[in-house]
C-alpha cells in the first residue's frame, strides 16, 4: 500500500510540525523527491521563513497540484471491510442505522415513510461484516438494501416470495447483462445483488456486469436515485435491465431549506435558496461561522475583516443609507448580533441563505438585504454520542511592511530635511511656551536647533546621518508583536430517546493576537432539549451562554506609526528609549520638573502599552423555548419565544507608568511660568480608569435585551395523490432594548489598594473653572459626568404563506406579511408596510416528453416576484431632539440639539425582486447545478437631497432614489468517482455577477470632492470610482484638467470644492467588483480528503496609493509615507515635490490621490484555504474505544494565484492595513 506509507509519512510530518514549529529546514536532507521538498517548503512557511511573494504563490500552486495529483495517482482499490458491533432487543431500525452510521462512517439513505413500516429488530453481533448485519436487520422486513460506496440505500422490497428450496440442486452459472436507464444510457456503478446468495457486483462504465447465480435466483439491481428492480433469472443469456428514476427516494432525501419559519423541501421551493450543509462546514475549522461560509454561496459577497470574519452583502447594495447587512436568524429567531459572534460554529448543522423575494419576504421589513438562516444541530434519539474537536491555529507574524505605510529612515529623513529647507510648513513650532504640545521628531529637533543657531550644520548633519542608520522595525517586531495563536476546544454531547432528546456543547477558545496584550478567552455553553410529552405535543428548550474576556491594551497601528522609524523603544542598555508624543523637549526643559506632580514626563510606546490595561467583558445569554401541538392531521400549532441579553463591560485603566496619567496630572495645574511656581494641582496623582470606546462614544457598560414571541399555525398535507398543500400563518412581537452608561472617570486610582481619589477641586464647571499649564482658563476636567443612553425598538408582524403542488409537477406559492415598528411618526398608519410575493415552479423532468432526453436527470424551473422592505431608521417624520443627559459645563444647563430635522414625507424603502432560476442535474448526476437570474429594483430608497440652507439644513433624507441590482448566479457541482480509481471528486463552483446602478436620485449639485468621497450619482453604481485627468507639471505646479479640459492648479480648490464633478471627473469603474468566484474542491480516497478553496473578485478598480504631498513638517510628529520614494525616484507619472515656499502645498492632497494614472484593476484570485484530513478506519478507531477519529491540517490565505495589478498588492488590503494573516491550523476530532 504505497499510499498508506506516504500518508503515514505525511501525518507524522504534520505531527512534527505541530510539536516543533520552530524546526528549521535541514538542507542536507533535501532530496529530489518532490513530496519531501514540498513538505520542507511547508515547514519553512510555518517556521516563518517565507520566500518572496511570487515564488510563494508558485509554491502554493505546486503544493495544491501536487497534493491533488498525489492522491489521484497513488491509490489502490480496497474492499469493504467494515465491521459492526451491536447488541439490542426490539430496537427501532433507525437506532441500528445510526449505530452503523457512527461505527462505519457510512450514511443511510431512505424514505422515512418506508421505515415506519419496519418492525423493531433484535440483534447481537460482534464485529460482523456490515453486509451481514444489514441482512440480519432486513430479515422479515418489507425492505431491502444496497451499498453504494459509503451510502447504504434502503429500498422497498420488490420481491418477497418464499426462498427457493431447490436452489442447491441447480448449479451456479455466470450471468451477465447490461443496466441502462430509461433513455438507454448505461448506468455505471449500479449494484447488482443475487438476492439468495448475497453475492454482489458493480456495473462498469458501460453498465455491464457479470455475476455468479443460479437459474431461478433473483437479481436485485439498485442505483441511487432510481427505483430498485428485481429480475428473476430464467436462463443463462444476458440480462438487460432498465432502471427508472425513483420518485420516492429522490423526493424524500432531497435537500431542505429552512426559512426560519418553516422547513421546505427544495423540490417544492419556488424561491432562491442556497444551502450550505454540515458536510462542508465541518471540514472548515473556524472561530467565526462567517469564515466558513465564504466562497460557497453565489451572490453573497463578503468583506473580510482583519480577523478573517466577514461582513456579508447579499445581491449587491440595495440601500444607500439604511443598514445593508443581511438579517441573521438562528434556529428560527433573528439574533441581535449580526457578526455571528454568538454562534458556536461547531454547533451548526446547516446554513440557508434566502436571496429573492419569495424566499425572504417571509421576513418582511428586515429582509431586503437577504436573510442568513442558521440551523443548529438538533438532538437525535440515539445512544449517547460525544464529539470532541480541538484545533490550534498558528498565524504568520504580523508583517510591519504590510501594516505600516511609513517610509524607512533614510527616505524619512531625506524628506524632513528637504521640507525644512523648502519651508513646506504651516504653523511651524516657533519656540513659544504654548508650543509645549508641539513635539518635533528627532530629526526636526536637529534641523530646528541648527536653524536657531544652537548647533552647527556639521553637528546637525552628523546627527541626521546617525539617525538615518537606525530602524526601529526590529525592536517593534520583537517587543510589540508576537506570533498569533488561537486554540479552540469544543465538546458536544447528544443522545436520548424518542421522548427526550438532548444536545449540549461546550466551547473554549483562547486567542492570542499578533500584537502583545491583545487577545481573548471565550467560553460558550449551549444546550437544546426536546420533549415529547404526548403524541400530539412537543416541547423544546434551548439556551446559549457565552462569556468573553477580551484585552485590547496592545499597540495600535497608529501608535506604532506615530513613532518615527528611527525612534527606538529601548536603548542599548535596556532602558526605555526617547519617544516623542505631545511634548516639546525644548519647552519641557524650561519647566521646573521637580515641582511638577510627576518629574518624569516622558513617553515611550512600550512603557505605555505595558502600563495600561484595556478590557472588554461580554456576557450573553440566549434562551429559546417553544411548544408544538398537533391539532389534526397536517395541522400543527407552534408557540415560541426567544429572550436574549447581552452585557458588555468596558474599561481602560492607565497606571502611573502610562504617559496618559502623568500628562493628565502635569498639564492640569495652575502654573506661573514667570515665577516657575505650581500653585494648584487639579488632578490627584495615581492611575486613571476611564470608560472604553465603541465607535466614537464612551461606554462603561452596554446592555442589550430583546425578546421575540411568535405564534404560528402550520399546515402540511397531501390530498389524494396529486394535491399537496403547505401553509403557515402567524404573528410575531419583538422588542430590542439597549441601555448604556459611561461612568465618571476614576482618578488617583490604585486597583491594588482599592483606592481612588476624587479631584480635590472637583471637575470644574460654569463659574468654577481651572487653569492649565500653559495658562488657559476655563478648563474643566474630563469624566466628571455619567453619560446615559437608552434605545428601544419594537416590531409587530403578521405573516402567512401557502404553496400548492399539483402532481409533483407544478408548484405555486404566495406570501404576505405586514410589519410595523415603533418608529416615531404623527401618522400611525405609516408604521405599517405590506410585503408580499408570488412564485411558481415547474418540475420539467416529470413531464413525459423528458423521457426522450437522456442526459438530463433532473430539471426544474422557478420564477418568483415580490416585494421586500427596509426601514431607514436613522431619520423620522418628526423633528427629533437629543437632550443631554447631564448639565452642559459651558451653559450650566441641560442642553438639547436637533438630532434629526425630520421629514414628514418619509416612507419605507421597497425592493421588488424578480427571480428566475433553473435547477438541473445532468449526465447521471455528474453535473448538478443551478442558475438564477434576478432583477432587484429598489424604489422609495432613502437618498440625501440637498436643500437650500434657508430650510434650516443643507441636506435631508427623502425617499427619492431608485437602485437597480441585476445579476446572474451560477453554481455548478459534481460529485463523482473517478473511473478506475477509488477517488471521489466533488467540486462546487460558484460564480455571481452583479450589476448595480442608482437609477434615480435627485441631487442637483454633486461636487467633485463629494463624488471622490463616495457620493452617490444618478446612473452610476454605488461605490463608483472617479479620477482627475493629470496634466503634468508646469513651472513647479501640478495641474489637473478642469471643466472642458481647462488646466487647474493643485492649490486651487475651487474645482474640487465647488465644481460639478460630472463635468470633469473620469468615471473609472466600481470599487465593488461585479464578478465574484468561489471554487471549492474536494478529493476523497480511502480515509483521506483534500479540500481546496479558491476565491476571486473580478472587474473592480482601486486606487494605488501615492505620496501625501501635504506632508508638512515643523508642527508636530510628521509621518512620511513610503511612497515618497516614488517622488524621489522622479516617477514622471506623478507630481514632483512642490517648489520652495509654496504656500499651497497643504492643498495638494485633494488632487494627488485621485489622479487617473493611479487607478488599477482590483481583480484577483486567491487560494483561500487548503484542508487535508484523515479519518481513522473504523476498526482502528474502535480499537482505541472511539467511534471515529479525524485529523486535519488547514492553511488559510496561502496566497494569491492571480492579481491584475502590477504592484503585487491585494487591493482589499493595501499597505497600512491589518491584512488577515496566513494561518496554519492543526486539529483533531474524536467521536465516542
Amino acid at each position: 500500500m504505497q499510499l498508506k506509507a506516504y500518508c503515514k509519512a505525511c501525518s507524522v510530518q504534520a505531527m512534527l510540525l505541530m510539536t516543533a514549529p520552530d524546526t528549521g529546514p535541514q538542507p542536507s536532507r533535501i532530496s529530489s523527491n518532490p513530496f519531501k521538498k514540498t513538505l520542507l517548503r511547508l515547514q519553512q512557511c510555518i517556521a516563518g521563513r517565507q520566500a518572496p511573494v511570487s515564488s510563494q504563490t508558485w509554491l502554493i500552486m505546486k503544493l495544491t497540484f501536487f497534493l491533488l495529483t498525489a492522491v489521484l495517482m497513488n491509490v489502490h482499490a480496497r474492499g469493504f471491510s467494515q465491521e459492526v458491533t451491536f447488541t439490542g432487543r426490539d430496537v427501532p431500525l433507525q437506532k441500528v442505522f445510526s449505530a452503523i452510521e457512527s461505527q462505519t462512517g457510512y450514511v443511510f439513505f431512505y424514505n422515512s415513510r418506508l421505515l415506519r413500516q419496519a418492525k423493531p429488530v433484535t440483534l447481537d453481533v460482534q464485529k460482523k461484516p456490515l453486509a451481514e448485519v444489514l441482512k440480519a436487520c432486513m430479515q422479515g422486513q418489507p425492505l431491502d438494501f444496497a451499498i453504494e460506496n459509503t451510502t447504504i440505500v434502503i429500498t422497498k422490497r420488490t420481491f418477497s416470495g418464499p426462498a427457493n428450496t431447490e436452489e442447491d440442486r441447480i448449479p451456479p452459472v455466470k450471468i451477465s447483462g447490461t443496466i441502462t436507464d430509461g433513455k438507454k444510457q448505461p448506468l455505471a456503478n449500479a449494484t447488482v445483488t443475487v438476492k439468495e446468495s448475497g453475492q454482489k457486483t458493480l456495473t462498469d462504465n458501460n453498465g455491464y456486469f457479470e455475476i455468479i447465480a443460479r437459474t431461478g435466483n433473483t437479481l436485485v439491481i439498485s442505483y441511487v436515485g432510481y427505483e430498485a428492480k428485481s429480475v428473476k433469472i430464467n436462463g443463462s443469456g444476458p440480462v438487460n435491465i432498465t432502471l427508472l428514476p425513483s420518485v420516492t427516494v429522490m423526493q424524500e432525501i432531497a435537500v431542505t431549506a429552512s426559512t426560519g419559519y418553516q422547513t421546505i423541501s427544495k423540490e417544492r421551493a419556488t424561491g432562491a435558496y442556497d444551502v450550505v450543509g454540515r458536510d462542508v462546514l465541518n471540514k472548515r475549522p473556524v472561530s467565526n461561522l462567517s469564515t466558513a461560509l465564504q466562497g460557497l454561496v453565489p451572490g453573497m459577497q463578503g468583506k473580510e475583516k482583519s480577523d478573517g470574519s466577514f461582513n456579508f452583502l447579499v445581491r449587491g447594495t440595495g440601500s444607500l443609507y439604511a443598514d445593508s447587512k443581511p438579517l441573521v436568524v438562528v434556529d428560527g429567531f433573528p439574533v441581535s448580533d449580526t457578526s455571528f459572534f454568538t454562534v458556536n460554529p461547531n454547533d451548526v448543522e446547516s446554513v440557508t441563505v434566502l436571496k429573492d423575494a419569495a424566499a425572504a419576504s417571509i421576513w418582511g421589513a428586515r429582509s431586503a438585504n437577504g436573510v442568513i438562516v442558521i440551523t443548529t444541530k438538533q438532538a437525535r434519539a440515539s445512544r449517547l454520542q460525544v464529539d470532541f474537536n480541538v484545533f490550534t491555529r498558528i498565524s504568520d507574524n504580523i508583517n510591519l511592511n504590510q501594516v505600516l505605510n511609513q517610509a524607512d529612515s533614510p527616505d524619512f529623513i531625506k524628506y524632513e530635511r528637504l521640507a525644512w529647507q523648502n519651508n513646506w510648513m504651516l504653523g511651524k513650532y516657533n519656540g513659544a511656551f504654548t508650543g509645549i504640545r508641539t513635539s518635533l521628531t528627532l530629526a526636526q529637533e536637529l534641523l530646528y536647533a541648527n536653524e536657531t543657531g544652537k548647533i552647527t550644520t556639521d553637528a546637525m548633519n552628523k546627527g541626521l546621518d546617525s539617525l538615518t542608520r537606525i530602524s526601529n522595525r526590529g525592536q517593534v517586531g520583537d517587543l510589540l508583536l508576537r506570533r498569533p495563536v488561537l486554540n479552540q476546544y469544543n465538546l458536544s454531547i447528544s443522545g436520548g430517546s424518542e421522548r427526550l432528546k438532548s444536545y449540549a456543547s461546550l466551547l473554549y477558545e483562547k486567542n492570542k493576537d499578533g500584537y502583545i496584550k491583545n487577545g481573548y478567552n471565550r467560553y460558550m455553553l449551549s444546550f437544546r432539549n426536546q420533549y415529547r410529552a404526548a403524541k400530539f405535543i412537543n416541547f423544546f428548550v434551548g439556551a446559549t451562554l457565552q462569556y468573553t474576556k477580551q484585552e485590547t491594551s496592545g499597540p495600535t497601528i497608529n501608535e506604532i506609526q506615530q513613532l518615527s522609524p528611527y525612534e527606538t523603544l529601548l536603548n542599548p542598555d535596556g532602558s526605555y528609549g526617547v519617544n516623542f508624543y505631545n511634548i516639546n523637549r525644548e519647552q519641557l526643559a524650561t519647566l521646573p520638573l521637580g515641582k511638577l506632580p510627576y518629574a518624569d514626563w516622558s513617553y515611550n510606546l512600550l512603557r505605555e502599552v505595558r502600563g495600561r490595561t484595556f478590557t472588554n467583558e461580554d456576557l450573553s445569554a440566549r434562551v429559546q423555548a417553544g411548544v408544538t401541538v398537533n391539532i389534526i392531521k397536517g395541522l400543527t400549532f407552534d408557540s415560541k419565544v426567544q429572550y436574549e441579553k447581552r452585557k458588555t463591560d468596558l474599561r481602560k485603566y492607565y497606571s502611573e507608568d502610562a504617559f496618559f496619567v502623568r500628562d493628565m496630572v502635569n498639564y492640569n495645574i495652575d502654573y506661573n511660568n514667570t515665577t516657575k511656581t505650581v500653585n494648584q494641582v487639579y488632578v490627584p496623582k495615581g492611575g486613571i480608569e476611564t470608560p472604553g470606546v465603541i465607535g466614537n462614544t464612551n461606554y462603561s457598560n452596554v446592555t442589550t435585551e430583546s425578546y421575540v414571541f411568535r405564534n404560528q399555525l402550520n399546515f402540511d398535507r397531501t390530498f389524494g395523490t396529486k394535491h399537496a398543500v403547505v401553509a403557515i400563518a402567524g404573528t410575531e412581537v419583538s422588542q430590542y432594548e439597549t441601555n448604556s452608561k459611561a461612568n465618571p472617570w476614576l482618578y488617583g486610582y490604585y486597583p491594588d489598594k482599592l483606592q481612588a481619589t476624587v479631584p480635590p477641586y472637583g471637575y470644574g464647571s460654569t463659574g468654577n473653572t481651572f487653569k492649565n499649564l500653559i495658562g488657559s482658563t476655563g478648563v474643566t476636567l474630563q469624566g466628571g459626568n455619567t453619560v446615559l443612553g437608552w434605545e428601544q425598538n419594537r416590531y409587530l408582524s403578521f405573516y402567512g404563506n401557502a404553496s400548492y403542488t399539483y402532481n409533483r409537477k407544478y408548484t405555486f406559492s404566495g406570501s404576505v406579511r405586514s410589519d410595523a415598528s415603533n418608529y416615531i411618526t404623527d401618522d400611525p398608519s405609516l408604521r405599517w408596510s405590506p410585503f408580499w410575493s408570488v412564485g411558481g415552479m415547474w418540475n420539467i423532468q416529470r413531464e413525459d416528453f423528458m423521457n426522450k432526453i437522456s442526459f438530463v436527470d433532473a430539471l426544474s424551473l422557478r420564477a418568483t416576484y415580490g416585494r421586500n422592505g427596509n426601514a431607514e431608521k436613522s431619520t423620522s417624520t418628526k423633528t427629533l431632539l437629543n437632550v443631554g443627559s447631564s448639565v452642559n459645563t459651558t451653559t450650566g444647563t441641560i442642553t438639547a440639539t436637533i438630532s434629526d430635522y425630520g421629514n414628514p414625507l418619509l416612507r419605507w424603502e421597497k425592493t421588488t425582486t424578480t427571480n428566475i432560476g433553473v435547477d438541473f442535474s445532468l449526465f447521471k448526476h455528474k453535473l448538478t447545478g443551478k442558475i438564477d437570474y434576478y432583477n432587484k429594483l429598489g424604489s422609495d430608497i432613502v437618498g440625501l437631497v440637498s436643500l437650500p440652507s434657508a430650510t434650516g439644513t443643507t441636506a435631508q433624507k427623502f425617499n427619492n432614489a431608485k437602485i437597480a441590482n441585476k445579476g446572474i448566479e451560477v453554481s455548478l457541482g459534481t460529485d463523482l468517482k473517478i473511473p478506475g480509481t477509488p477517488v471521489w471528486y466533488a467540486t462546487s463552483l460558484t460564480y455571481a455577477y452583479n450589476w448595480n446602478r442608482i437609477t434615480d436620485l435627485y441631487y442637483p449639485s454633486i461636487y467633485g470632492f463629494d463624488m471622490l468621497g463616495g457620493g452617490f450619482v444618478q446612473g452610476r453604481p454605488v461605490g463608483s470610482v472617479y479620477s482627475y485627468t493629470y496634466l503634468g507639471m508646469t513651472s513647479g505646479e501640478p495641474y489637473v484638467a478642469g471643466v472642458k479640459g481647462v488646466p487647474n492648479r493643485f492649490d486651487d480648490l475651487a474645482l474640487h470644492n465647488r465644481g460639478l464633478g460630472l463635468q470633469y471627473l473620469n468615471y473609472e469603474g466600481t470599487s465593488v467588483p461585479p464578478h465574484t468566484l468561489g471554487w471549492y474542491n474536494s478529493l476523497k480516497a480511502f480515509n483521506f480528503s483534500v479540500n481546496v478553496l479558491f476565491t476571486g473578485t473580478l472587474g473592480g478598480v482601486y486606487r494605488n496609493p501615492i505620496f501625501n504631498y501635504a506632508t508638512l513638517i515643523g508642527s508636530g510628529k510628521t509621518n512620511v509615507d513610503r511612497y515618497v520614494a516614488d517622488v524621489f525616484a522622479g516617477n514622471p507619472d506623478i507630481p514632483s515635490f512642490p517648489q520652495a515656499n509654496d504656500p499651497g502645498t497643504y492643498r495638494w492632497d485633494r488632487y494627488g490621490p485621485n489622479l487617473n494614472g493611479l487607478i488599477a484593476s482590483s481583480s484577483y484570485i486567491e487560494c483561500k484555504e487548503i484542508t487535508i484530513d484523515y479519518t481513522l478506519p473504523a476498526k482502528m478507531a474502535s480499537a482505541i474505544q472511539t467511534s471515529g477519529i479525524r485529523l486535519y491540517v488547514q492553511s488559510r490565505n496561502p496566497g494569491m494565484v492571480y492579481h491584475a495589478n502590477d504592484k503585487g498588492f491585494n487591493p482589499d488590503w493595501l499597505p497600512g492595513s491589518n491584512k488577515p494573516l496566513r494561518t496554519y491550523t492543526m486539529g483533531l476530532n474524536v467521536q465516542f
Partner: protein
C-alpha cells in the same frame, strides 16, 4: 392571541425608541434654546474682510500667501463671481437660517407640549426674538440698505415654519423689515425685565430695548433709538467692564524670530467664561473662521496707543505671529478665543454709542459727549474725555469712538447705513491697493486697485451659488 395583539398593537408601537426624542415638554424646548453655542456665533467673512477695518498689506501677502484663505481674499476684493461660485457654502446665511429653523420648531411646538403657560410664553418670546435678530443680521448683509427707495428691493426668504416645502421666494425689503418689527412686538411678551446673568443668551425687555436702540439708529429714527437706549441702560445687571481691571494673560514668546506678544487674560478664556462677559444684554459673537482679524493701519491709528487699553489688550502689533506668519510685523485684533470671537450682540458699550450717535445727530452735542465718555472712562488707563462743540465734530468723534470700540463687528453695517442716512460727511468708500485677481488666483506681479464705492450694489452680499442651485430657482440673486 392575534386579536389581543391587534387591539394592543397601536399602543405597543407608540412607545418611542429613544427618550426625549420627540418634542413633548417645555423642558425639552428650554434645553434647545439653552444650547447657547447653537445661537451665539455669526460666521462672517464680510465682517472679517470687506470693510476698511481690514487691510492686507501687499508685501505681507507676497511673503505669506498661505496665511490668507480664498474666502478671505474673495471678500476682501469685493468679488461677486468668486463669492458665488468658488466658495462651497456661506456659513453666515446657513447659520442664521439654522437658528431660524430652531426658533420655528419652538414656535410650532410650544402650544402643543406639556408645561406651564408662563414657560410657553417665555419660549415663544425667545423664539420670536431669535428670528427678528437673525433676519436683521441677514438683511444687513444680503439686501440693500433699508430706505424708502429700496422698499421694493429683494429682501429675504421669510421662513415661518419648519416645512421643507414652504416657498423660498425672497420677500421685498419692506416685507422683511415689517416681519422683523412684528417679531419684536411678539417678543415683547417676555416677562423678564432684566438680563439673567446665568442665561445671557435668553431675552429680557432690556435686551430687546438694547437691540431696538440699534434698529432705530439704523432706520434713522433717532428719538426711538434714544428711548430704547435709555431703557436698556437702566439695567441693574449688564455693566461695563472696566478695562483697567483686565489682567495680563500668558505672555507668548517666539524665538524664531524673537517676538513677544502680551496677551490679555481674555485670550486665555474659554466659552465657559466669555459667555458671561458682563457687558452683554444678549449673547452673540462675530466669528471669523480664519481666526484672524487683521486691522488696517487707518484703524490702528485711531487709538491713543499709550492710553487706550483697547489698543493695549486687543490690538496686538505682532499678533500676526500667533499662527506663525513668516514675518512678525502684522497686527491682530483679538478679544476672545484666540482672536476668533468678538462680541456682536447688544452690549452696554454699543447702546452707549447708539445713544451718543443719535444724540449727536439730533445735535445734542453735550448729551452725546456725556454718553460716549461713560464708555471711555472704562476703556482708557487715564481719563481723557472727548469734547466737541459743533454737531459735525460730535458726530465725527462719536463715530471714531464707535469704530474703536466695535471694529469688524459694526463696520460693515455702518458703512451701508452711512450711505443712506442723508449725511454725506460720514460716507465711506473702501479702497484696496492689492494685486490682480485672475479668475481665482492672485497674480502678485500685477498691482491693482479695488474700490467699494459709496452706495455700491455690492453692499448686498451675493447669495452663495450652491444655495441658488439647491433652491431650484426660488431664490434669486441680487442684481449687480
Amino acid at each position: 392571541m392575534p386579536v389581543v395583539l391587534l387591539c394592543g398593537c397601536k399602543k405597543y408601537l407608540e412607545k418611542e425608541p429613544k427618550k426625549q426624542a420627540s418634542i413633548q415638554t417645555t423642558d425639552q424646548l428650554e434645553a434647545l434654546l439653552n444650547n447657547a453655542s447653537a445661537f451665539v456665533q455669526e460666521n462672517d467673512y464680510t465682517a472679517t474682510s470687506s470693510t476698511d477695518d481690514a487691510e492686507i498689506n501687499k508685501n505681507d501677502y507676497k511673503n505669506n500667501p498661505g496665511q490668507f484663505t480664498p474666502e478671505v481674499l474673495y471678500h476682501y476684493l469685493f468679488t461677486t463671481d468668486q463669492v458665488v461660485n468658488n466658495i462651497a457654502a456661506d456659513p453666515l446665511w446657513a447659520g442664521e437660517y439654522k437658528k431660524i429653523f430652531t426658533a420655528n420648531l419652538v414656535l410650532a411646538n410650544a402650544d402643543n407640549v406639556t408645561g406651564s403657560d408662563a414657560a410657553k410664553q417665555r419660549l415663544k418670546a425667545d423664539a420670536h426674538f431669535i428670528r427678528a435678530y437673525s433676519y436683521w443680521v441677514m438683511a444687513n448683509h444680503y439686501c440693500l440698505p433699508y430706505t424708502k427707495d429700496n422698499e421694493g428691493a429683494p429682501g429675504l426668504p421669510l421662513k415661518n415654519t419648519t416645512s421643507y416645502t414652504e416657498p423660498l421666494k425672497r420677500a421685498t425689503l419692506k416685507e422683511t423689515y415689517d416681519f422683523i418689527l412684528a417679531e419684536i412686538a411678539a417678543a415683547q411678551e417676555v416677562t423678564a425685565d432684566d438680563v439673567d446673568p446665568k442665561l445671557p443668551w435668553r431675552i429680557s425687555k432690556k435686551a430687546i430695548a438694547a437691540f431696538m436702540s440699534r434698529y432705530y439708529l439704523f432706520v434713522g429714527d433717532y428719538d426711538k433709538s434714544i428711548t430704547n437706549a435709555n431703557q436698556a441702560l437702566s439695567t441693574a445687571i449688564a455693566q461695563l467692564k472696566d478695562y483697567k481691571t483686565i489682567q495680563a494673560g500668558i505672555q507668548v514668546k517666539y524665538t524664531n524670530p524673537n517676538v513677544t506678544i502680551n496677551f490679555s487674560e481674555l485670550n486665555d478664556w474659554t466659552a465657559v467664561k466669555y459667555y458671561f462677559w458682563p457687558e452683554f444684554y444678549y449673547l452673540r459673537f462675530t466669528y471669523t473662521p480664519g481666526w484672524w482679524f487683521l486691522p488696517s493701519p487707518a484703524l490702528v491709528s485711531l487709538y491713543d496707543q499709550s492710553n487706550d487699553l483697547r489698543y493695549k489688550w486687543c490690538m496686538l502689533s505682532q499678533g500676526g505671529r500667533y499662527f506663525s506668519a513668516g514675518t512678525a510685523n502684522m497686527y491682530r485684533y483679538m478679544i476672545f478665543q484666540t482672536g476668533s470671537m468678538l462680541p456682536s450682540g447688544p452690549t452696554v458699550a454699543e447702546v452707549l454709542l447708539n445713544k451718543a450717535e443719535a444724540l449727536a445727530r439730533k445735535n445734542d452735542v453735550a448729551g452725546a459727549m456725556q454718553a460716549v465718555n461713560i464708555l471711555r472712562d472704562k476703556r482708557l488707563s487715564s481719563a481723557a474725555p472727548l469734547a466737541a462743540t459743533m454737531q459735525d465734530d460730535a458726530i465725527k468723534k462719536v463715530l471714531e469712538e464707535r469704530r474703536r470700540e466695535l471694529p469688524f463687528v459694526m463696520r460693515w453695517y455702518d458703512i451701508r447705513r452711512f450711505s443712506v442716512n442723508g449725511y454725506d460727511a460720514d460716507n465711506i468708500s473702501v479702497v484696496r491697493d492689492f494685486f490682480q485677481l485672475n479668475g481665482n488666483t492672485i497674480d502678485v506681479n500685477t498691482p491693482k486697485t479695488y474700490t467699494l464705492p459709496v452706495g455700491s450694489k455690492r453692499y448686498a452680499v451675493p447669495i452663495n451659488g450652491v444655495e441658488l442651485d439647491a433652491s431650484k430657482g426660488q431664490i434669486v440673486q441680487n442684481v449687480y
